[in-house]
């Protein structure tokens, strides 16, 4: 393909792979692929949601009591932090379309800082649980709630929040690559922002999962 070189006056875009009819089709394929991947992620978490639903159905009292033992303030702060980080990730796409690479970097740095904040708060929540003994299965030793099914609640709690935290870490890695590229190379523009857009979509998925986990675990 000899069309790779940039003619002066046009906005440089990504390379067009030979098997796509046009750049439009190529971008469409990238988005569709991302949606397919996100669908598998949604179904991954759906397995844990099904566990939650089953055991909640069987042990409603243990579920209510255990849910009240969580720190609602920390959970709420974490929700606000994650929603705000999702907002800055969306703003990064906005600036990428305008070709303002510095702002893309700044927005992603803010997102990453909030992601670290989220994990730090989560760490303190975990630490408290290890201290008082609200742990999964046979490691449970909390005196405050002695109901059948309580250790199961914390199995679901730790499994789902740990899987979510793993996704936070993966999302941070993905966004870090775009951040470095925005600062160092600075080649995002109206024609070329797929990396920012798809990375940001992944981050929104992390937010989306937490939007459901938060009321399920902390509120009801």
């Amino acid at each position: 393909m000899s069309s790779a070189h940039v003619t002066p006056g046009t906005v440089p875009g990504p390379k067009l792979a030979a098997h796509f009819a046009s750049l439009e089709v190529q971008k469409h394929a990238a988005r569709l692929g991302m949606w397919l991947f996100l669908a598998t992620e949604i179904l991954l978490f759906a397995g844990l949601f099904a566990c939650y639903a089953s055991y909640r159905f069987l042990f409603p009292e243990a579920w209510a009591a255990s849910s009240r033992s969580l720190d609602l303030t920390m959970g709420t702060i974490n929700t606000v932090v994650l929603i705000t980080s999702s907002f800055t990730a969306a703003m990064a796409v906005h600036y990428a379309k305008e070709g303002k690479n510095k702002m893309v970097g700044h927005m992603f740095v803010l997102t990453l800082l909030m992601a670290i904040g989220f994990l730090v708060i989560k760490f303190f929540e975990y630490k408290h649980k290890f201290h008082i003994g609200t742990l999964p299965g046979r490691y449970y030793f909390y005196e405050g709630i002695q109901l059948p099914g309580a250790p199961l609640y914390f199995t679901v709690y730790f499994a789902s929040t740990a899987l979510h935290a793993l996704h936070v870490v993966i999302g941070m890695t993905v966004l870090a690559f775009s951040t470095v590229r925005a600062y160092r190379v600075g080649d995002f523009n109206a024609n070329n922002y797929t990396a920012v857009e798809l990375g940001s979509m992944y981050w929104h998925l992390v937010d989306l999962v937490w939007i459901f986990l938060f009321p399920m675990l902390y509120l009801v």
Binding site: A21, L43, G47, F59, S86, R138, L152, M201, L219
Partner: protein, 146 residues
Amino acid sequence: MAIANESHQEEHNMQEHHGAGRYVVIWVVLLVLTLVTVFTGRMHLPDFGLLLALVIASVKGTLVALYFMHLSEHRGANRLVFGVSIVFVVLLIGFTLMDFGTRFRLANPPGSQYSDLQAVDIGANPAEGRTGGHQQQIKQQHETHE
């Protein structure tokens, strides 16, 4: 060429540049809905508390998908993929619950709401049977540590 048309339409929608105001509005709405769900959650509504929390979460999730993830500007295939994944989530959880809801009573785990048995009835250690945790042994270890 339906696919090419769809790509063209999507590209056109994505290129159309909206102000940042739209994201700010969605962000504020998401924060307000978070406060609403915390407030209604703390009231511990007896029957429809879970339903209300899930409705609020679904509204928030829809806003994130439509505007932050740009699903409102995408066409055909992308929407189909997302929609089908949600349908499968509903099927998975729905059929699991239908199973539990219609079980022969003795098929439910001992100690659960729908069982006449306790864990000790099927031979569990009385100390462990109440919760399933090893509270006695671990508690002793815990105390010797302190």
